[in-house]
């Protein structure tokens, strides 16, 4: 019993040792990052003296000549300016003016603030903390633009999808609105600063024709002092009748068979 067990153990130990030594994939080597090779791109002529092909030589020489012609310009001889003879002792104001005139002359040593180039270190010093606000504002504008874009995308996406609150899509709603807009003659004399919202409930047939139309706050029409409301309500009823039959979506009759139109002329009357 012991003999067979020890043989088995020995055999297994040997097998493991053999595996570790002989099989390469068992020993995992540390992954070492490959070194990046840097490549400098240089002109061949800088390192070799190999002659150019005759055509290439001609072209290179031609370019060189052109460059030399451009750079070498003859300097104009300095203009001889006669010395000014002072007729009288200049007054302090005149002296100041003269100094100002001198400033207008070109001074190669003077470096204008706008033209001055600055190193990276200098740039840090030139950084104006007052401009932070402007930068923040710009970033705000950018984020607002992004948000607007996102909103637009969202509404565009919604447009094609079903508006769960209403049961019809926004594009279908727009199509219905467009039909009513054409039929509604808003009475022009109405005041814009009064609450003149007219709500009409429509029952529609499957072909879009109107089965019944009912003004929800009908009682208001006959109340004293509600002349404007009555006029507006009648105009909306005319609009609905002129638009009969409405062009409705071919599908989803159950969703749009009952319709409520809220007529509000306030914005139009305000102009």
């Amino acid at each position: 019993m012991y003999k067979s067990v020890s043989q088995s153990v020995l055999f297994h130990v040997l097998f493991v040792l053999f595996t570790v030594v002989s099989l390469p994939f068992v020993k995992k080597e540390a992954i070492t990052a490959q070194q990046l090779i840097t490549v400098d791109i240089i002109q061949i002529s800088e390192k070799t003296q190999l002659p150019f092909a005759p055509k290439a030589r001609e072209i290179i020489e031609k370019i060189k000549k052109e460059q030399e012609e451009r750079v070498v310009t003859k300097q104009a001889p300095p203009k001889i300016i006669p010395k000014e003879k002072l007729k009288a002792v200049p007054l302090p104001d005149q002296v100041k003016n003269k100094k100002k005139e001198e400033k207008t002359k070109q001074n190669p040593e003077e470096i204008k603030e706008l033209n001055r180039q600055s190193s990276e270190f200098e740039k840090k010093e030139l950084f104006d903390p007052n401009k932070i606000a402007a930068l923040i504002d710009k970033s705000k504008e950018e984020t607002a633009d992004i948000q607007k874009k996102q909103n637009l995308e969202l509404t565009q996406n919604q447009d094609s999808s079903v508006n769960l609150n209403k049961g019809i899509t926004l594009s279908q709603e727009d199509a219905i609105k467009a039909q009513i807009y054409k039929c509604w003659n808003i009475p022009l004399g109405l005041p814009f600063d009064q609450d003149l919202l007219v709500r009409i409930r429509l029952k529609l047939k499957q072909d879009g024709s109107i089965l019944s139309s009912e003004i929800l706050d009908h009682a208001r029409m006959n109340q004293p002092g509600q002349g404007y409301y009555k006029v507006l309500a009648e105009s909306t009823l005319r609009a609905v009748k002129l638009c009969d039959p409405l062009k409705m979506p071919a599908t989803g009759y159950e969703k749009w068979k009952d319709l409520q139109l809220n007529f509000d002329a306030k914005e139009m009357l305000r102009g």
Partner: protein, 446 residues
């Protein structure tokens, strides 16, 4: 318990399955004038009409006057009568709405004329909703045949009221100063006419210079200024009887007398000791009361429709601006703050707006603002125009405009114009001569 659970869950399930009511907001529409057909009125029994009446062609004239009134308001588009399919007599009894819908009419007016035993003219009219297919207004009016024009105006007012919700302004008159002759010898007469320019009559002979006539809101009476022996006098004239009386002689320059809303007082401005201030005069007691005492020039006073406030113009701030005060002269407040000069403020009969003349960069504007000075809107601009006066419904303004005269002094001339509050419906009112200083009466048939 089991039954309850089943019914509860089944209700819950079906409620979830049903759709919410589709609600759509309609916030846009056509702002075009309402397409309207005015069918020619017809004579029911022509044999009863005398030859004289037949020659008058009242059936045509009444419908024509109604059409013109409605068209001029800018709120109605009158469809060409040549396109009407149905004959007037059938249209009045039982219109075929399809025929009227075919020519795109949304409302239709029909009517008939009858002469009764007392030789009175009976005019019936009906207003039809073509789209709704029903009658929405109907009225019968009696009058002498000569007053057919007033009947037409009253019918126009009824249609206007029914279709806009506010009272009309067609059965009204306009008083103005008719001007004629060369500039150095200008003859100025008082004249009166219907709001559409018809029925023009002269009330004075033109011997004296007349200025600024204004209507009494409650009676057919006018007040105006006239120069008698180079002295300004304020007169009262009863239009119906023609009787005239002098309210008083006022020394110095006197400006623009105007009635209070109850017609019991006259408000005006006149110069006393070289200073122009606002005064009122009680017409029954003739007691004069001074309302402003500022050393500046205060002129052109006008009462609010409830009589509680007065608006006027004054240069107390350094330039001519509009002010509002209580009717006792207290609590003076400046309300105009725009660029330019403001003058001739007139309170709307509705009470919400004040019309004014504005002078800015050499041009004259007629505009309106709220009584607190907000919401200033300029309605029209011209070389020279002023003196706005409100229609009784507070929707239209009448004013006069002068043309530029040539270098030699020729040309020029003044005329009456009207404009509604939208500023789009501006129209010239034809008068036989040059005209200035118009004033609009209240509704005659109140």
């Amino acid at each position: 318990m089991k039954k309850f659970c089943i019914s509860f869950f089944s209700i819950l399930f079906f409620t979830q399955a049903s759709f919410a009511l589709v609600k759509i907001d309609i916030t846009r529409g056509n702002l075009e004038p309402l397409p309207t057909a005015v069918s020619k009125f017809y004579i029911e029994d022509p044999s009863k009409f005398s030859e004289e009446l037949k020659k008058l062609k009242l059936e045509e004239k009444i419908s024509e006057t109604i059409s013109n009134n409605l068209k001029r308001s800018g709120l109605f588009f009158i469809i060409d009568p040549k396109s009407y399919i149905q004959s007037p007599n059938i249209a009045h009894v039982k219109p075929t709405f399809q025929d009227w819908a075919l020519i795109k009419a949304q409302i239709m007016v029909s009517g008939k004329l009858v002469i009764d035993e007392q030789k009175r003219l009976r005019v019936e009219f009906r207003l039809w909703d073509v789209v709704g297919g029903k009658e929405i207004e109907g009225l019968a009016l009696f009058a002498t045949p000569q007053s057919w024009r007033r009947i037409a105006h009253i019918i126009s007012d009824k249609i206007y009221e029914r279709m806009t919700g506010e009272s009309g302004y067609f059965d009204t008159r306009i008083i103005y100063v008719a001007e004629s002759g060369p500039k150095d010898q200008r003859v100025k007469k008082l004249a009166i006419m219907d709001q559409d320019g018809s029925g023009n009559k002269y009330l004075t002979l033109g011997n004296e210079l007349v200025l600024t006539p204004r209507f009494n809101p409650t009676a057919q009476m006018i007040t105006y200024m006239s120069y008698f022996k180079n002295l300004p006098r304020v007169y009262l004239l009863n239009i119906e009887t023609g009787s005239q009386e002098v309210v008083g002689d006022f020394p110095g320059m006197t400006f623009a007398p105007r009635f209070s809303p109850d017609g019991k007082k006259i408000i005006m401005s006149f110069a006393k000791d070289g200073n122009s201030d606002i005064y009122t005069m009680d017409l029954s007691s003739r007691v004069v009361e001074q309302l402003t005492t500022h050393p500046s020039i205060d002129t052109s006073p006008s009462y609010s429709s409830d009589g509680k406030y007065i608006t006027f113009n004054s240069d107390r701030s350094g330039s001519q601006q509009i002010y509002v005060m209580r009717s006792d002269g207290s609590n003076v407040k400046r309300i105009s703050f725009g660029e330019g000069l403001y003058g001739t403020p007139v309170w709307s009969p509705r009470g919400d707006l004040i019309a004014f003349t504005k002078i800015f960069k050499g041009n004259f504007y007629i505009g309106v603002m709220r009584s607190d000075g907000s919401g200033e809107r300029l309605l029209t601009e011209n070389f020279y125009q002023e003196a706005p006066s409100w229609s009784p419904n507070g929707r239209v303004l009448i004013f006069y405009r002068e043309k530029k005269s040539g270098k030699s002094g020729t040309g020029g001339g003044s005329s009456l114009w009207s404009i509604d509050l939208t500023g789009y419906n501006e129209r010239k009112i034809d008068t036989p001569t040059d005209a200035s200083d118009p004033a609009w009466s209240g509704l005659l048939s109140k």
